[in-house]
Symmetry: C2
DNA sequence: ATTATTGTATTAAGTAGATAGTACAGTAAT
DNA sequence: ATTACTGTACTATCTACTTAATACAATAAT
């Protein structure tokens, strides 16, 4: 999975979210060692300080932990990961429906549009 | 409808979007005169310059127009408004589904979660 | 004519985010 | 011991966003 960074929001926030997503989707597995700050920064075409800032946040939440000089690892607490997954899903759904309703779509219309889109797409 | 402004994105961008939403949802009607920059700025608890910046963007898109000294009005081009509504809806749906799939949810799971949420909510 | 209100422009200041460059301390591998 | 890699810290600089405080020209209302 590639890094997808826009300029309309802080980069470190987007990196934070995308690392979370990678952990949740199993791209980075529980207990697995993460690439180094410098490596990931190069990969994302970002300053190491920016990547570092994202990691600092991730650690406050407990999702990853640091072994001072040998790198970082994803938490082995799978229930924590599962919980975060649910949280993010609920939040996605809620803000999606809110936005659609504010545009003036009824529940039924939202339902129909989602159904139609899900049918149409690939895979 | 109240202003909902977060600090994680530029204020003027959020104002821009929310004015678009108000026009699309009919809160500000086609041809209607808009409140002044200063008035809206006070209402949103924001500097007039920030509100002005949002309006400048809205004008580039043609959604509103300016009568130099008597204020601004919403476009009367209802098909333009309708088109913007569709655009924003499609974009909402797409990025919602993308985000869910990246979290690891299948189309069927997305469908079920959306259905369940739509059933549960109010109104 | 005067007054108030409109959009608009300008300058200055403060803040947050991002980059660049450098440095240090701890550990693993050799 | 040396080397290479790790996270971490620090300073300086640049840009974008936001606020503040004015100011001006055009029009609507009086």
């Amino acid at each position: 999975m590639a890094w997808n960074l826009q300029s309309d929001r802080p980069i470190y926030t987007q990196i934070l979210e995308q690392i979370q997503t990678r952990i949740i989707s199993g791209c980075y597995k529980p207990g697995e060692k993460l690439p180094s700050v410098r490596e990931l920064a190069a990969e994302a075409n970002v300053n190491p300080n920016t990547m570092q800032k994202a990691f600092a946040e991730l650690e406050r939440s407990g999702l990853i932990s640091t072994q001072r000089t040998s790198g970082r690892t994803v938490t082995e607490d799978t229930s924590m990961i599962e919980q975060l997954k649910n949280q993010m899903a609920v939040s996605q759904i809620q803000s999606f429906i809110d936005a659609m309703q504010q545009l003036g779509y009824s529940k039924e219309e939202i339902y129909n549009l989602v159904t139609k889109t899900l049918r149409g797409g690939n895979e």
